[in-house]
């Protein structure tokens, strides 16, 4: 059940993190499941009944490009939390290949893995995972402390990151004195302090109020723009995924359903599940013009306004409705198609 997914803009050699055929199976004699096609083909209840095993991650393959925000999305039980933990071997994968900057992660020994964790990866957790007995500044500098940096050095670096995430002035408070949002900022700061190459987020904002959640999402976007780190972001919230993600991998029951940009998921859902999933998204805010173009009819004038294919439908609505001739969608010098009132209204009015 390998998903045939396309990677339109990434070459293998450019990928920062590469995952191929990743499996995680829980249960007795889990290792045999990936190698037995008959067992691998069973769905969850059947597999459990037959072998007592659960496949949390089934044969997943994808690449993460440097500097990209890669979102893994799915409902509870889809295996996304397990997946993100497999990436740094917090949970040991059952089968598959994990490559990071060309290095085989599964072959790394304890020492190498620790070294990688100390300098290359960082994780932000859903329930923050802070140490209640340490002040904010000591929580943030924890990663630096365990890799042996001196106190003045790590304090200095910690202060930098604290300022970066907007916690300045709170460094001598204890976690119990902070609100949920601020605690998560501490988690964020801690993850950034190590200056990792990849930041992993496990549903970091699910435990926060909606208002704070939006604030934090904006923070992450800002940080990404400022600092430019590669991020792997886990969430079950579609709007969050669409807001933050460059590419989104939708998972179900441990397997990949569709991998693509937000507008690809909304515009060309791979199956009914995806279609159901994205049903409530305001399509006008996600879809770009390239998705709703049609070929020009023979009698249509081709001298209307031009728009780029990546313009959001929402932004183009006024122009299209106001113009009395179809709007051309031009990519580079090529005409992709035209858009008329019907096409625009079909998207805007359809909820």
């Amino acid at each position: 059940m390998t998903a045939q997914l396309e990677y339109p803009d990434i070459q293998d050699s450019e990928a920062l993190l590469s995952v191929q055929g990743l499996w995680k199976v829980f249960g007795p004699k889990a290792q045999r499941i990936p190698h037995r096609p008959d067992l691998a083909a069973l769905d969850r209840p059947e597999l459990y009944a037959k072998t007592g095993c659960t496949a949390a991650v089934r044969d997943l393959s994808f690449d993460v490009a440097p500097g990209e925000v890669f979102v893994v999305m799915g409902l509870s039980g889809s295996g996304k939390s397990t997946l993100v933990r497999c990436l740094t071997r917090l949970i040991e994968p059952t089968a598959g290949r994990l490559t990071f900057e060309g290095e085989d992660l599964r072959a790394a020994d304890e020492k190498r893995l620790r070294a990688l964790r100390r300098s290359k990866f960082s994780m932000v957790f859903q329930h923050f995972g802070l140490l209640p007995h340490r002040k904010v500044i000591d929580n943030v500098s924890y990663g630096l402390e365990i890799r042996g940096e001196s106190k003045p050095d790590r304090r200095r670096r910690a202060q930098e990151v604290i300022d970066l995430v907007g916690l300045a002035g709170n460094e001598h408070l204890y976690p119990e004195q902070l609100s949920g949002g601020m605690q998560q900022r501490v988690g964020l700061a801690r993850a950034l302090a190590n200056d990792p190459d990849v930041l992993l987020f496990d549903e970091p904002f699910s435990a926060l109020d909606p208002l704070i959640r939006r604030e934090m999402q904006t923070e992450v976007v800002r940080l990404h723009r400022e600092v430019g780190k590669t991020m792997v972001f886990i969430t079950h919230d579609l709007s969050e995924a669409l807001k933050l993600g460059d590419r989104i991998l939708l998972m179900r029951d441990g397997a990949a359903v569709q991998l693509g940009t937000g507008d690809e998921l909304v515009g060309a859902p791979a199956d009914d599940y995806v279609r159901e999933f994205v049903r409530d998204v305001p399509r006008a805010d996600v879809l770009t013009l390239r998705w709703i173009v049609r070929d020009p009819r023979p009698d249509e004038p081709l001298d209307g306004p031009e728009l780029a294919p990546d313009v959001l439908v929402r932004e183009a609505t006024r122009l299209v409705l106001e113009s009395d001739r179809p709007v051309k969608v031009v990519d580079g010098g090529t005409l992709l198609g035209v858009i008329g009132d019907e096409e625009i209204l079909a998207v805007v009015a359809d909820h």
Partner: protein, 650 residues
């Protein structure tokens, strides 16, 4: 003729458990009447079996003179004597200890303040002064010295073991088994061997206390490590911590409050050993109690028991406050006050070294004798008023309930009783209940004290039933009513810490020497813990659930029986289990008031060298009974959960 075609599916349903139990009981009673008196394995009081004699012979094999034990003994002795020299006994050529009473009170109050809150500090000072006013200062300090020594040594051993069990699953399983054994094995059983290894003196007493008091600390430390939120541990790992770094920087600090609860439990356990330790010459309040009992001086015994209770309350509140402290560091104001307090303490200590009035507790004000007189008078009055009635109650219960049960157990052949117990275990708990029952019965026969075991089993079962009934009633009441809970808790705490020896004498006066007296003493001892666990369980039932039940118009009884008790099922199982263990731990004390059987055998083994082997065998029999009853009740509880979970769906 029209054929009546009917597809009648005969449903073979499993008979209900209560029906099976009833049938089992009837079969047993019938068999009893037929087979009465055969193969009952009776052993006379002074008689011994080959096993007992073998144990006697080998008792001296591991005696003193072993360098390892001598070394331990020396270190422990010196440690205890040092503590005594500091706070209780005249030392270093002075007629007073190094720190007099004023200094001790100041230091204790200061520590309570520093580790806890000022309220607890006031309580500490008040408690210690009260004990002094009772005229028991020196004895209390002796007890405190011994307790501190035992607790520190216990923690030294227990916390590393607890950490190990917390980190390793296999260690955890092994530890649980060993700890269960240590806590159910009656102290009397290992008291005499300890004296053999470590000679008479504070060392043996401290180590006896250690064996009893260390298990709670091990258990709670392991539990604490396992309860650290997994995300914090994951966070530490994901940042690249080694195992050692995770342990030191994350697991240990975050398990602090639960570990403190373990320390609290260890202290309570150590204090409850005070009187038993006195039997091997441990100094302190235990001696006062025992001496008073020789002359049936209930008043003096009560006075000393009260001092033990006060010490227990003080230590309990201080350690609880220490565990509840928030993480944030103290404010500047508090630091300044603490500094000033430290100076005050030093001044007080200097006073207590220089002036007699601050060194020896002034004996002019002695409320102890007043307390003793009042206690004696109250006891005498109760005996006078209720004497006739209580003998009647005893006779009715003994003749009506205890004797039939005991007769059934002791009169039936051993193989019949074993078969019944195994069948009972199977019905109640499946193979998980049957297997332990079978193994324990076999081992019980091997110990050679089968008959006495059956006598003790009868008393234990009766006592446990009463304990559970009273515990449920009181626990549900306290769980549902905050005010009741507020005043009942101190009473229960006192009941648990007051040495059972103290209320033995009044009970003897009320009920004479009999098995009923032993049962009554066991009930008084075990009800507090059962009540507390049930009350906690009832309080933990989500308020929303209770509200929902009330809002559809349920009566109080319906809410209790249909909502609160079922939801609190796990707590109730634990309460039954703990009630059972506490009842069993009173078996030996019961032997001192006429229960005979295993309790008496153990005490006799301690006192007479020819009966040493039998005493050891009897102690093991007590443990076996405990294991069997514990495993069967737990299996039964698990079964109920499974059934309720799956329902009757087919």
């Amino acid at each position: 003729m029209a054929a009546i075609t009917s597809d009648v599916e005969v449903e073979v349903r499993r008979p209900r458990r209560s029906v099976v139990l009833g049938v089992l009981l009837v079969v047993w009673v019938a068999a009893y009447f037929v087979l009465r008196g055969i193969d009952t394995l009776v052993l006379g009081g002074q008689d011994t079996t080959a096993l007992h004699r073998w144990l006697n012979d080998h008792r001296d094999d591991v005696g003193q003179g072993n360098a390892f034990f001598d070394a331990i003994r020396f270190v422990v002795d010196q440690f205890v004597v040092l503590l005594q020299n500091v706070i209780s006994q005249p030392s270093f050529d002075r007629p007073v200890p190094v720190i007099g009473w004023l200094g001790v009170v100041a230091i204790a109050a200061y520590c309570a303040w520093a580790f806890g809150t000022w309220k607890v500090a006031v309580l500490t000072a008040a408690g210690l002064v009260f004990v002094g006013l009772q005229g028991l200062w020196q004895e209390s300090m002796d007890t405190l010295a011994l307790t501190i020594a035992a607790v520190l040594l216990s923690l030294l051993v227990a916390i590393p073991l607890g950490i190990w069990a917390g980190l390793s699953n296999r260690a955890f399983r092994v530890a649980t088994l060993v700890l269960d054994l240590m806590q159910t094995l009656p102290t009397f059983v290992y008291l005499a061997p300890l004296v053999l290894f470590f000679a008479i003196g504070p060392a043996a007493a401290t180590i006896a206390t250690l064996i009893y008091a260390a298990p709670p600390a091990v258990r709670l430390t392991a539990h604490a490590i396992r309860s650290v939120p997994p995300e914090s541990v994951e966070a530490a790992r994901s940042l690249g911590s080694t195992r050692g770094q995770t342990l030191l920087k994350v697991l240990l600090p975050m398990s602090r409050s639960t570990v403190v609860v373990g320390i609290n439990q260890t202290i309570m356990a150590a204090l409850s050993m005070v009187t038993v330790a006195a039997l091997i010459d441990a100094p302190g309040l235990g001696q006062t109690v025992l001496k008073a009992l020789q002359t049936l001086d209930v008043g003096v015994a009560f006075n000393a028991g009260l001092a033990i209770v006060v010490l227990a309350i003080v230590l309990d509140r201080v350690t609880t406050a220490a565990g509840d402290r928030p993480w944030r560091t103290a404010s500047v104001r508090r630091k300044v006050l603490l500094g000033a307090g430290a100076v005050g303490v030093l001044v007080a200590v200097w006073f207590s070294r220089t002036y007699v009035w601050a060194a020896e507790f002034p004996s002019d004000v002695n409320i102890g004798s007043r307390i003793a007189v009042v206690a004696s008078d109250v006891t005498a009055w109760v005996q006078d008023v209720f004497g006739g009635f209580t003998y009647g109650v005893r006779d009715v219960v003994t003749v009506g309930l205890l004797n039939p049960l005991e007769g059934l157990l002791t009169g039936s052949p051993w193989w019949l009783v074993s078969a019944v117990l195994v069948a009972l275990g199977a019905v109640l708990g499946g193979w998980r209940g049957a297997a332990p029952a079978a193994v324990c019965c076999a081992l019980l026969v091997a110990t050679g004290v089968w008959h006495d075991s059956m006598v003790t089993l009868a008393s234990t079962l009766l006592a446990t039933v009463v304990v559970v009934a009273v515990g449920l009633a009181l626990g549900v009441w306290a769980g549902r009513n905050r005010r009741v809970d507020g005043w009942i808790r101190p009473v229960l705490d006192a009941g648990q810490t007051m040495p059972p020896f103290v209320y033995l004498v009044p009970f003897l006066a009320l009920f004479g020497t009999s098995r009923f007296t032993a049962i009554a003493a066991a009930v008084v001892f075990a009800v507090p813990v059962t009540t507390k666990i049930v009350a906690d369980g009832i309080k933990a039932v989500p308020g929303a659930t209770v509200e929902a039940a009330n809002s559809v118009g349920s009566s109080a009884w319906q809410v209790i029986s249909k909502v609160q008790l079922p939801v609190a099922r796990r707590a109730i199982t634990l309460a039954v289990n703990q009630g059972l263990i506490y009842v069993l731990s009173m078996v030996v004390v019961g032997g001192l008031v006429g229960a005979g059987a295993l309790g008496y055998d153990v005490a006799a083994g301690f006192a007479q060298s020819e009966l040493y082997g039998k005493g050891l065998a009897a102690g093991l029999a007590i443990v076996l009974l405990g294991v069997m009853l514990d495993r069967v009740t737990q299996a039964a509880a698990r079964r109920t959960q499974d059934f309720q979970g799956r329902g009757d769906k087919r």
